[in-house]
Amino acid sequence: MEKKVGVYICKGCGIGDSLDIEALAAVANDEFSPAVCKDHDFLCSKAGVQVIQQDLNGDDAVNAVVVAACSPRVMQDVFDFGPSVVLDRVNLREQVVWCQPAGEEDTQMMAEDYLRLGLTKVGIMEPLEPFQPEEEMSKRLLVVGGGLAGITASAEAAKAGYEVVLVEKEAQLGGWMNKLYKQAPMKHPYTDLEDVDIADRVKAVEEDSNVTVYTGATMEKIEGAPCLYTAHIKQNGNVVTERVGAIVVATGAVPYEAKKLKHLGYGSCENVVTNETIEELASKGTITRPSDGQPVKSAAFVLCAGSRDPEHLSYCSSTCCIESLKQAKYLRLQDKDAKAYIIYKDMRTPGHYELFYKSMQEDEGLFLTKGVVSSVTEDENKNVVLEVDDTLLGEKIQLKVDMLVMATGMVTNAAIGEEVELVLEDEEEGAAELEDVPADTIIKSDMLNLEYRQGPEAPPLHNGFPDSHFICFPYESRRTGIYYAGSVRAPLDGPSTIDDAGGAALKAIQCVELTSQGMAVHPRAGDMSYPDFFMDRCTQCKRCTVECPFGAINEDAKGNPLPNPTRCRRCGVCMGACPERIISFKNYSVKMIGNMIKSINVPDEWDEKPRFIILACENDAYPALDMVGITRQQISPWARVIPMRCLGGLNLIWIADSLSKGIDGILLLGCRHGDDYQCHFMKGSELAEIRLSKVAETLDRLALESDRVQLVQLQITDYPDLPRIINEFSEKLDEVGANPYKGF
C-alpha cells in the first residue's frame, strides 16, 4: 500500500508551552517527508479532529496518521479512524512534557525522538484485515459436566440465545447435588435447610430447546480452535461430532480420599465416617452408627479434614464449614437432646452463609471450638474418643462421641490423572534454550482430550486447579476459548458455583462473538491483528509451539508450526521466540521495533547525552509511565520508551540493534512472574528473562558490559517508585560509561 502520512501535533495540555512545535514539525518534514504536517491548539476538540478527518477524505487522501498528543491510553474513541487507516499515537503529553522540564533542549530532543519512532512505525504498519477461515464459524457452546455449574452455564447461555451442547458422564444430570439430603440455605433468611433444588434446574435445562443434552457421555477428543472446534462425543459406544465455538468446563471435584486421613481414625475406628456418608444416612432417614445401627446421639464434626494441611491439601476446600453446620443441623433435628460438636481451624462461612452460622450458633446443642484433633481412638462400646488440643476452653480436652464425621476437602477432577510432559524429540537449533523454559505440567484428566500440541488438557495454576490469575482474568484458563467454572476451577460452594457458571458462560459468549469477527479475546479484546508465519524460512525448531503460553500453535509431523489464529491472544511471544524472525503481525513485528530503535537520534559521545531504551509492557509498565507524568514526577531525559504488547515478544536482535547503534543501555519493564504472576500472557516476562540470560554471554563476548541490559518486574501501582528505578539505571550507565560503538 502506498502510504500517505499525515502528522498532527497537538499544542494543548502544556505541549505547546513546553516544546518548540515548529522545530518538531521540521523534524517530521525534513526526515520523513509526510504528505501533511499540521499542528492544532486543541486536537481532541471537534475542530481538531475535523482537521484530520478532512485530510482523510478525497482523492489524495491521507491513509496513515500520526497523532502527536496525549497517551494512546486516552482519547481512543476520539482518534478512531477505522481499521483501514494506519494510526500511531505519539505520547508527547504524559511521557514528555509532564515528566520533563519545559523549554529544555533535552526535552525537545526527547519529543523529536518520539515523533521519529511514531513515523517509523506507521511507515511499516499495514492496515488490518480480520482473520476469516474458510470453514463456517460456530457460535455454539460446549458445556462439559452436568452438575450445578454445567447446568447453570447451559441455562444462562441458552437464555442469552446461544445453542448449547451439554455433555455429562453420569446417566443423569445433577452431579454432586444429587447426593445431598438437604442443601445449605440459598435464600432469605438463610437460616433454614432447604430441599435440594437441583432437580428443578435439571428439568429446566432438559426442557430448553437451545440445549442438546448427552448423558452417559464423555469427550473422546476435541479438535480445532475457538469457533472452529469439532467435539467428538462418545455415548453408548458411538461417537457423535458437534461443531462448537467455545467450551465451558464444569467437571467438578471429588472428595479427598478418606483413607489418607488415618490420623482421624478413619479405617481404625468403625464410627469414623465422612461427610458424604452422613448425606447418605440422612437421605435414608436416620443418622445411625455404622457399628450397631443405633441412632447417633452425639457426633463430632472435624473440619479441615485434609484441607489446609500441608500433609494433604494445602488449600481451603471452602464448603466444609457450611456443610458440617448443615449436617449438625440434621442431627439436631433428628434428636433434640443430641450433641453436635464442631472442631474447626477457622469458621469460614462467607456471604449469606454467615447468617446460617449465626443461627446454628444459637442452637444450645451445638458445641463449637477451635482446636486441633490430636488423637482418635475407640472404646469398648465403639464410641469414638477424641482428644483436642488448642481449644477455646483453654485446655486439652477429651470428647466421647457416638460418631466422628470428617469434613473431607475437595479435589478438582482436573488434578486426577497421569502427568504428561512435553517431549522434544530432537536436538535442533534453539533446543538448548528450550530446556530452560519451564514446561507446563498437563494432567491427563480425561475431561477434554484436546488435540493440542501442548497436551490434552489445560495446565493447572495451583494445586491442580486449571485456573488463571482470577483478579485480572476471571473465568479464564490458559487455553483460549476454554473456560472453567465451578469446583473444577476452585473450591466453591453452591452460590459461588452458580455465579461462576454464569461468568464462564458469558466469557464463552464473548469469545465466540469476538472470534467470529476476527478479533482477539481478553486481554487484547478487539485486536484484529494476528501472527503471520513466513514458512519458507522455518527451521522446525519448535520454539514457537513450545513457548506459546496458550497452546495456540500445533505442529505437523515434520515439526512445522500449524497456527490457529482463533486460539491466539496476540501477545507476540512466538515473535520473540523465533530465531529466524519469521513471525510478524501487520502492525507489530521484529523489523518494526528494530527500525524504530534505529530511528532514534544518538548524539555523539562528546555531547555527553547518553541514550537508553525502555522496552515497556503495555499492560502495566506503560500505564505506570503515564502515571509518572500524570503525577508530574521527573525521569531521566535520556530514556526513550518503546511499548511492547508483552515482554515475552522480546527478540534478542533488538538488543544487538540498540547496542550497535550506540545506545548505552536497555531497560525492560515487565510484569511480575512466578506463583502470583501478573503477566497478562502468563509467562511473557519470565520468557524475556530467560532469553536475556543468554544475552549476558553475548555482551561479554562483544566486550560490552552486561549491566547495560536490565529487566525489572513491576506492577502499575509501583509508579511512585518508577522514577527511582529509571534514574538509578541511568546513573549506572554513567558509571559504566559511553557505549564504545557510538558513532560507528
Binding site: E364, G365, I397, Q398, L399
Partner: protein, 457 residues
C-alpha cells in the same frame, strides 16, 4: 437438676468434657438467652474495667456457658467479681450480652447451693410464684387466728392484731432458718470456688486456711461499703447511686431493728433499763428520725433502681425474673413500712391493719427466701470477693480502670445485626422493673426483722 456436667482430670492431661445441655437451657431461661451468640472474640474481657489481667473473665465463662460446663460455672469465683456493669454487653459485636450470661450464672449458683435444694427451685422459677406468695400469707393468717382472729377496734395499735411475742417468734425463727440455710450454702460455695480455682490454676493447690480467709474477708468490707469497684463501671454508672442508697437503707434499718430489739428484750436479759430504746418511738425520737431517714433512702434507692431499668437504653441491663421478684418485694416492704407508720399516726383503722399485714408478709418473703433470691448475691459476692483477696486475684485495679473504651454509643449496636433476637430483652424491659446487683456487708441477716419490728412498735 441432673448433674450431668462433669469435668474430670484424666491421667493424660486431656480433660473429659461432657456438656450439660439442660444447664445451657437453664442459663438461657435465667436471662442468658443470648449466650450462644458468642464467637469468642474476647472483646468483653478487653473492655471490662474490673476483669483481671490473668485469665480474664467473661470470655472463658462464655464458652463454659455455651458448652454447659456447670461445675466450672457455679464454682467460679470470677462470675462474682463481675458487677454487671454491662460494658461487655455494650461492646459485644455479636449481641451475646456476656453481662447477662454471668448474671444468669449467678442466679443458677444460688439455686445450685440452695439448702434445702427444692427451695432454690421454688424461688428461681416463675411458675412457683403462687406457692412463694401463699406461704407467708398462710403463716400470718394462722398467727392472727391464734391471736384472736379479729380486726381490733378503736385507736390503731398493731399489737392488738398481732402480739409482739408472736411476731418475734415467727420472724426470729424464719431469720435463723435463713441464716442456717445460707450459711450451709456459702460454706459449700467457698469450698467449691476454692477447688475450682485450684483446678483452673488461679490458686495454689493447698487446703483453704480459714484464718487467713477471714482476714481477707474483713479487708474487702470497706471496698464493698464504698462501692469502689462499682464506680469503675461505665455503661451502668447510673446504678451506682441507686445501689448505694439501697445498701445504706438496708444497713440503717438493720441497726434500728437491733436497737429496738435490745430496747424490748435487753432490759430483762441484761438487768438494766433499756426502755429508752424500746419502740414505739415518738416522732421526735432520734431513732425514729434515723429510721425514717434510712427508710426513705431505701425507698428512693429502689425507685431509682426501677427508674434506671426502665430507661430505654438498648444495650444496657435487661431484667430477669429473679431481679424483678426481689425489686418488687423490696418496694412493697419499704413502702408498706412507711405506710404502716402513717396508718398508726393517722389512725386509719382497717386500712392500717391491711397495710401492716402486707408489710409483715413482704418482710417474711424477703427474709425467708433470702438465701435463694437475688438478695443472696450480697453474701455470695462478699464470700467470693473475700476469696479473691485471699488468693490475691486483683480485679478492678487502677491501671485497668482507665482502660474501658470511652463513648460506648459509637459502638455498633448488636441490635442492627440480629433484630429478631434483640426484640426479646426490650419486651422484658418494658414489663418489669430493674435489678439490684450489689455487694453488701457480710452478715446483715437481721436487717429485715429490724425493719419490721420498727414498724410494729
Amino acid at each position: 437438676m441432673a448433674d450431668e456436667s462433669a469435668v474430670q482430670v484424666e491421667s493424660k492431661a486431656a480433660t473429659l468434657i461432657e456438656p450439660d445441655l439442660n444447664f445451657v437451657r437453664e442459663l438461657k431461661e435465667a436471662g442468658g438467652d443470648t449466650l450462644k451468640k458468642c464467637f469468642q472474640c474476647a472483646t468483653c474481657s478487653v473492655v471490662c474495667a474490673l476483669s483481671p489481667d490473668q485469665k480474664p473473665y467473661p470470655r472463658k465463662e462464655m464458652v463454659y456457658s455455651q458448652w454447659g460446663l456447670k461445675d466450672k460455672l457455679v464454682n467460679n469465683v470470677d462470675v462474682w467479681l463481675c458487677h454487671y456493669c454491662n460494658d461487655c454487653s455494650t461492646h459485644c459485636p455479636r449481641g451475646a450480652r456476656p453481662g447477662d450470661t454471668l448474671r444468669a450464672v449467678r442466679a443458677l449458683s444460688f439455686r445450685h447451693f440452695a439448702f434445702p435444694s427444692f427451695m432454690g427451685k421454688i424461688v428461681g422459677e416463675k411458675k412457683y410464684l403462687p406457692i412463694m406468695l401463699a406461704i407467708p400469707v398462710l403463716i400470718l393468717l394462722l398467727g392472727i387466728k391464734i391471736a384472736g382472729g379479729h380486726i381490733p377496734e378503736g385507736a390503731v395499735e398493731y399489737r392488738d392484731l398481732f402480739p409482739l411475742l408472736l411476731v418475734d417468734a415467727i420472724f426470729v425463727t424464719v431469720t435463723f432458718l435463713a441464716i442456717g440455710s445460707i450459711g450451709f450454702g456459702l460454706w459449700n460455695f467457698l469450698q467449691g470456688i476454692h477447688a475450682n480455682a485450684v483446678a483452673e490454676g488461679y490458686a495454689e493447690d493447698k487446703p483453704l486456711a480459714m484464718g487467713d480467709y477471714v482476714k481477707s474477708l474483713i479487708s474487702v468490707i470497706p471496698t464493698i461499703l464504698l462501692h469502689d469497684k462499682f464506680k469503675l463501671c461505665t455503661t451502668n454508672r447510673d446504678r451506682y447511686w441507686a445501689h448505694i442508697l439501697v445498701l445504706v437503707g438496708f444497713v440503717g434499718l438493720f441497726i434500728v431493728t437491733n436497737l429496738g430489739f435490745v430496747g424490748i428484750y435487753g432490759g430483762p436479759l441484761l438487768g438494766i433499763n433499756t426502755d429508752f430504746l424500746a419502740p414505739p418511738y415518738s416522732i421526735a425520737n432520734p431513732i425514729k428520725l434515723f429510721a425514717l431517714l434510712v427508710g426513705i433512702g431505701l425507698l428512693g434507692g429502689i425507685l431509682l433502681v426501677i427508674a434506671n431499668r426502665l430507661k430505654p437504653k438498648d444495650a444496657e441491663s435487661t431484667i430477669s425474673y429473679l431481679d424483678w421478684s426481689l425489686i418488687v418485694a423490696v418496694l412493697v416492704t419499704v413502702s408498706t413500712g412507711l405506710l404502716t407508720w402513717i396508718g398508726r399516726v393517722g389512725n386509719l383503722g382497717t386500712v392500717a391493719y391491711g397495710i401492716y399485714f402486707l408489710h409483715l408478709g413482704s418482710v417474711f418473703y424477703i427474709i425467708a427466701y433470702l438465701p435463694y433470691s437475688k438478695l443472696a448475691h450480697m453474701f455470695y459476692r462478699t464470700v467470693a470477693m473475700g476469696y479473691a483477696a485471699y488468693i490475691d486475684r486483683p480485679f478492678g485495679v487502677e491501671g485497668v480502670a482507665a482502660a474501658p473504651v470511652a463513648a460506648p454509643e459509637v459502638e455498633p449496636t448488636p441490635a442492627a445485626e440480629e433484630p429478631a433476637a434483640e426484640a426479646e430483652p426490650v419486651e422484658e424491659k418494658a414489663e418489669a422493673p430493674a435489678e439490684v446487683e450489689a455487694e453488701a456487708p457480710a452478715e446483715p441477716e437481721e436487717e429485715k426483722p429490724a425493719e419490721e419490728e420498727e414498724k410494729k412498735e
